[in-house]
């Protein structure tokens, strides 16, 4: 509130220098109005988001942000202030509709920052998680700790993973939906992402704790990037005019990819050797893997070229089309994703 008050008083003061009493009552009623309308929170949230996102166009970002909030509150019942006669009943809307709203909003948050912007992304994941956590009646605090022991996440200590707030966790179906949307929005076709989602899957009735949620979201975000990179790689390898690329070529490229991932896997192994590792280490390793992948794709073209020219001389005949290449690349990634059990 402080900064908003400061701004407000900075603006209010020059306007009314001659009326001390008048000023007091006016600014009091102003203050009351603003706090009633929740302006302070609204602005604080907006500024935080903006500073994290560091968009090139801050004004545009704010416009979008507020438009989004406005349309959310227009659609939703029960949120402050919009008695604008939308055809919503005065009672709570159906659980499904509300859930959908929350999902949309959570996805919007997750889209704001790229996963490489670590702190911004983490914050957005947190916000999204809290949003989805509020949804629906199906919150079973008791289920949380034992249900989700992905080997990548630390076993939550007795009180559930680090203060999730009201509920025990996000409902599994919502979690799965989130991941599906992330993948499809990221440009990954459903068939490609299906195996990944199977690995990250939580049962519909289960309550997903924050760590698992974050792991899933991050993996999907990284996977989307990875698939896009793979698609680009295929485009480099294959000339569209000449039809699908030769199988040998593709296999060679994929081989290089695999090597790159395995190199990073070696780092994973050493990391995981340390006892009581925190969840973040594994997550970081995932991200590192992608970084290695990108690096290798970019900085060792001669290695790739060597592999390719070698492959052209020998190796299996036939062609590999984009889809197959993509699936194979996806496979390389997915095999490295730990299964959430």
């Amino acid at each position: 509130m402080a900064d908003k008050e400061k701004r407000r008083s900075g603006v209010a003061a020059p306007e009314m220098p001659e009326m001390p009493e008048g000023k007091a009552t006016k600014s009091d009623s102003d203050r009351e109005f603003l706090s009633q309308a929740g302006v302070g929170e609204l602005l604080r949230g907006a500024i935080l988001k903006m500073v994290e996102a560091r968009s090139d166009d801050p004004i545009g970002f704010l416009a979008d942000h507020f438009c989004h909030l406005a349309s959310m509150s227009d659609r939703g019942a029960g949120t402050a202030g919009c008695g604008d006669g939308d055809q919503l009943s005065n009672g709570p809307p159906s659980a499904g509709a509300r859930e959908q709203q929350h999902l949309n909003r959570a996805l919007w948050h997750l889209r704001l920052a790229h996963h490489s912007q670590r702190s911004a992304f983490s914050n957005n994941v947190r916000v999204a998680y809290d949003l989805l956590n509020l949804t629906g009646p199906g919150k079973h605090p008791g289920e949380t700790p034992e249900g989700q022991e992905g080997s990548c996440t630390e076993s939550p200590t007795g009180g559930g993973g680090g203060g999730e707030g009201e509920g025990g966790g996000v409902r599994g179906s919502l979690y799965t939906q989130t991941l599906q949307c992330l993948c499809s929005e990221g440009g990954v076709p459903a068939s490609t992402s299906a195996p990944l989602l199977r690995r990250l899957h939580c049962h519909d009735h289960e309550a997903v704790p924050y760590d698992v949620f974050r792991h899933g979201v991050l993996t999907c975000a990284v996977f989307s990037d990875y698939i896009r990179q793979a698609q680009r790689l295929y485009a480099e390898v294959c000339c569209p005019d000449e039809g699908p690329a030769s199988r040998a070529l593709c296999l060679a490229v994929l081989g290089t990819l695999k090597e790159a991932l395995e190199t990073s896997q070696g780092c994973d192994a050493t990391c995981c050797v340390n006892a009581n590792t925190k969840a973040n280490v594994c997550l970081e390793a995932n991200v590192k893997a992608i970084r290695y992948l990108k690096a290798s794709a970019k900085i060792s073209p001669h290695k790739l070229a060597a592999a390719m020219s070698g492959a052209q001389a020998r190796g299996p005949g036939g062609n590999m089309d984009a889809k197959e290449f993509e699936n194979a690349a996806a496979d390389l990634f997915i095999t490295r994703v730990k299964v959430v059990s």
């Binding site: 908003k4 701004r7 407000r8 900075g10 603006v11 209010a12 102003d30 109005f33 603003l34 309308a37 929740g38 302006v39 609204l42 602005l43 907006a46 500024i47 903006m50 500073v51 560091r54 166009d57 801050p58 004004i59 545009g60 704010l62 416009a63 507020f66 438009c67 909030l69 406005a70 959310m72 509150s73 227009d74 402050a80 202030g81 919009c82 604008d84 702190s119």
Partner: protein, 330 residues
């Protein structure tokens, strides 16, 4: 996080976001009943959308318009959009007439700035003369957008005229400053000096030094150097006039199209044709404010010899601009 914090202020400062947030809150408080009926999120959404689309400066006070570079360029653009039809008709207007036009868009627009603009266009001579829309708007753009810079350059120029050496100009705050004794000239010489101006190269040096330390916006150094390289001697207002007509400077500001395209407005032409058709059907329908009617009268007086088509276009244009401002206001 600390490594991000140091640039947060910069990030916020450059975009003047806090200023806009503050203004949004002030406006909200001033018009509580009107703005809060749709919810504050919607209000802020509208406010920032209008800032983004440069629609936010219409009918605002002068201080708001000049508060940020974005506001200034938005205002210039709004002025252009509202009144470019005047340019099409070839009207010449006086300083006060232009000021009236400006006041329609900004009620407290000061006459001094319009007069300064007039001085640029008319080279400080006979400020009562009439100006074309095109000359005016580019000079106005320069004057409004780079107001602080022009003031500083004028000070430098006057110092140079008075014979002070460039070094004294560069360090204005220093107290122990060496001044050349003012050149003892006769009246004629002084006048001649003012007409001819100063050494362009000297001015260029001083302006360059000014840019090094200047906090506000200024035209690009390359464009200024280019202009000052053209002549040996240059006077202040011809320098400004050249700046105003410089394509690069115009592009950098980004508010107005190039001179060749200034008067092109196919959409408005279409709208006007439609309006003319409507007016022909129902002449009493468009009742504009008295100010606009006054404007129409003024324009008719100013150029009696015009064909019917143009005059009708002028009438409709006033309505058109009214339409436009009305719709922007919503």
């Amino acid at each position: 996080m600390s490594r991000f914090l140091s640039s947060v202020d910069e990030y916020l400062g450059d975009s003047h976001v806090l200023f806009y947030l503050s203004d949004a809150v002030t406006q909200l408080l001033e018009h509580k009943e009107e703005y809060s009926q749709f919810g504050v999120s919607r209000y802020f959404a509208e406010y920032f959308s209008s800032v983004k689309n440069s629609n936010h400066v219409l009918f605002r006070e002068f201080n708001y318009i000049t508060a940020t570079p974005h506001n200034r360029s938005s205002f210039i653009r709004v002025f252009w959009r509202c009144y470019r039809q005047i340019g099409k008709s070839g009207e010449l207007l006086s300083v006060l007439e232009f000021r009236s036009l400006l006041q329609l868009l900004c009620p407290d627009f000061p006459v001094e700035m319009v007069q300064s603009t007039g001085r640029i266009v008319l080279m400080d001579d006979a400020v009562d003369c009439m100006m074309s829309f095109s000359d005016f708007i580019y000079a106005f753009q320069l004057q409004l957008y780079f107001r602080e810079f022009l003031d500083s350059v004028l000070t430098i120029y006057q110092d140079l005229l008075a014979g002070k050496s460039p070094n004294t100009v560069i360090v204005p705050t220093s107290t122990s400053v060496e001044q050349l004794p003012p050149v003892a000239t006769e009246e004629n010489d002084k006048e001649r000096q003012q007409r001819d101006g100063v050494e362009a190269s000297t001015l260029a040096e001083c302006v360059d030094a000014l840019c090094d330390r200047f906090k506000h916006s200024h035209p690009s150094r390359s464009s200024m150097t280019e202009i000052l390289a053209e002549k040996d001697k240059i006077c202040f207002y011809s320098f400004l006039m050249s700046l105003s007509k410089h394509g690069g400077v115009n592009q950098d500001i980004g508010a107005l199209p190039s001179m060749a395209e200034l008067l092109i407005d196919p959409e408005m032409d279409q709208e006007l044709d439609k309006l003319v058709a409507q007016i022909a059907v129902s002449p009493g329908s468009n009742s504009s404010g008295s100010a606009v009617i006054g404007l129409k009268e003024q324009q008719r007086k100013a150029s009696p010899r015009r064909n019917i088509h143009h005059r009708r276009k002028m009438e409709v244009e006033s309505d058109g601009s009214n339409e436009e401002t009305d719709s922007s206001e919503n």
